[in-house]
Symmetry: C2
Subunit: 258 residues, 2 copies
DNA sequence: TATATTGCTCCTGAGTTCAGGAGCATCATT
DNA sequence: AATGATGCTCCTGAACTCAGGAGCAATATA
């Protein structure tokens, strides 16, 4: 063959050994019948037809309708333009799909990541429960989340202190573990923020080990999360919160877990 | 996972199963440690590191230097721009290389193919010898080609008539088979064309079965060939040539093959 | 009509890729 | 010092790809 170094590159393009051999041979030889290709390349005669069929389907090769058929390589620049555009389309479409998953930029330096799907929020919350090592402070303002993570909280409490803080005493009945009420500062800051009228209601905040925090908002019906892995304020905030909370005594209800 | 359909597409991009799983998981989850990736994707924990290393090398993933290390997906649009450019460069370079083989357009309808390399010319000549079924008329004007194809001519002559036509009687000694001289028309048309002063000297012409023909020129030191597979004039030309040639009687030389 | 060639399909076995897992040294936390 | 998590390396076997080849019907040639 005229240039052996082409075969590996054509393979990188997605060709098999046979395809690469036949194609480069046809480019050099310009035109040949199946039998001739077989004799020059030593490819089994039968397989030459399959190989040519694939190359024709991929648009690399043209066949004449003589008998025996003559095969020649298609115009290279046009062929490669086509391949280029096909590849670019594929990459653009895939890139777009992936960006739907990614959506917003992350600030890697801050260790801040926006979580745009309920799936990502849920997974990250469970991961926090799983890796917490000293304490968890969790502010809850949503029955959905209370139900969802009740089991995780109970499980975590076997290892480390867990402080579920709720706005209203009545929520305590929803949760199978000891709950706390925040002071007016906590309520004002987290549960009843004044700023935006309806948007961005906080549903849940977790502070874990005084290092990480995760916030879940309900922004016009859509849950959004922010995960902060290097939250420098988290230590201070969680300490202040714990200083100013009130344990809710279980009233005449079924007995608590010890 | 958030969108299973992505995995096959990422595989098309050149990722393995593990790489595709880890990458799409990281895109959805935003950030995770190796252990967490292992737990969510069920990929063996040990293999997660290799997979991540590959993804980092390919530029899909970034790692933080915390302990344990946190991994996150690199910016998608930037990553894919990079991949795009890399692929385009590859395709452009390969396309250029291949066009060096191809060089000129072929006229498929005419069945005309320009042969730009001595390799292609040689191969096509031998293919003509191999597939000729009724006769070969070959005009020779170059010692190099006489030596080169002497054996092919002798071999072909065992099956079919072969008419080597030379300009000068003295060339006959170079060839181990009966040779012929053309008349003045043949000489004028093929061996001593007047037009161009020095360029385009004809070195060799083959007419095969009155259907195909192949011409070899020496254009300023470079051999160029033209192969005509549907040469409608070939039948007439070869008949006229054969009508007007003179057999060269072997003089006092070693005896010819019968 | 007999023979060779063509066009095509399918099978096999070697080689490779890769999912899945075992194992181990190092580091961090008790 | 002991325990457990981390970062990493290597092994194995299943699945797949693909080179190489056998075989056969349809067509062309003699």
């Amino acid at each position: 063959m005229i240039d052996e170094s082409l075969i590996p590159e054509l393979k990188d393009l997605g060709m098999s050994e046979y395809e690469a051999k036949v194609y480069s041979m046809l480019l050099a030889l310009r035109v040949a019948s199946a039998r001739e290709i077989h004799e020059i390349t030593k490819i089994p005669r039968g397989r030459v037809y399959e190989t040519l069929t694939v190359l024709i389907e991929k648009g690399y090769v043209n066949s004449s309708n003589e008998n025996p058929a003559r095969y020649s390589a298609a115009d290279v620049s046009r062929t490669f333009d086509r391949i280029k555009h096909k590849r670019l389309d594929f990459l653009d479409k895939l890139s777009e799909k992936l960006q739907n998953l990614e959506k917003e930029r992350s600030e890697v330096l801050l260790g801040a990541y926006e979580l745009r799907t309920i799936w990502a929020i849920d997974k990250q919350i469970r991961l926090i429960f799983a890796r917490a090592k000293s304490e968890i402070v969790i502010l809850l303002n949503d029955e959905f989340f209370m139900d969802k993570y009740a089991a995780d909280m109970v499980k975590a409490k076997k290892r480390i202190p867990v402080y579920p803080i709720i706005e209203d005493e009545s929520f305590a009945e929803k949760l199978p573990l000891k709950c706390y009420l925040g002071d007016k500062d906590v309520n004002a800051a987290f549960f009843r923020p004044q700023q935006e009228p309806e948007a961005s209601r906080i549903k849940l905040i977790i502070y874990s080990d005084g290092r990480e925090s995760l916030l879940v908002f309900d922004r016009e019906g859509i849950y959004e999360g922010v995960f902060l892995s290097n939250h420098i304020h988290a230590a201070y905030i969680s300490r202040m919160i714990l200083k100013n909370i009130t344990e809710i005594k279980p009233l005449k209800k079924k007995k608590q877990k010890k």
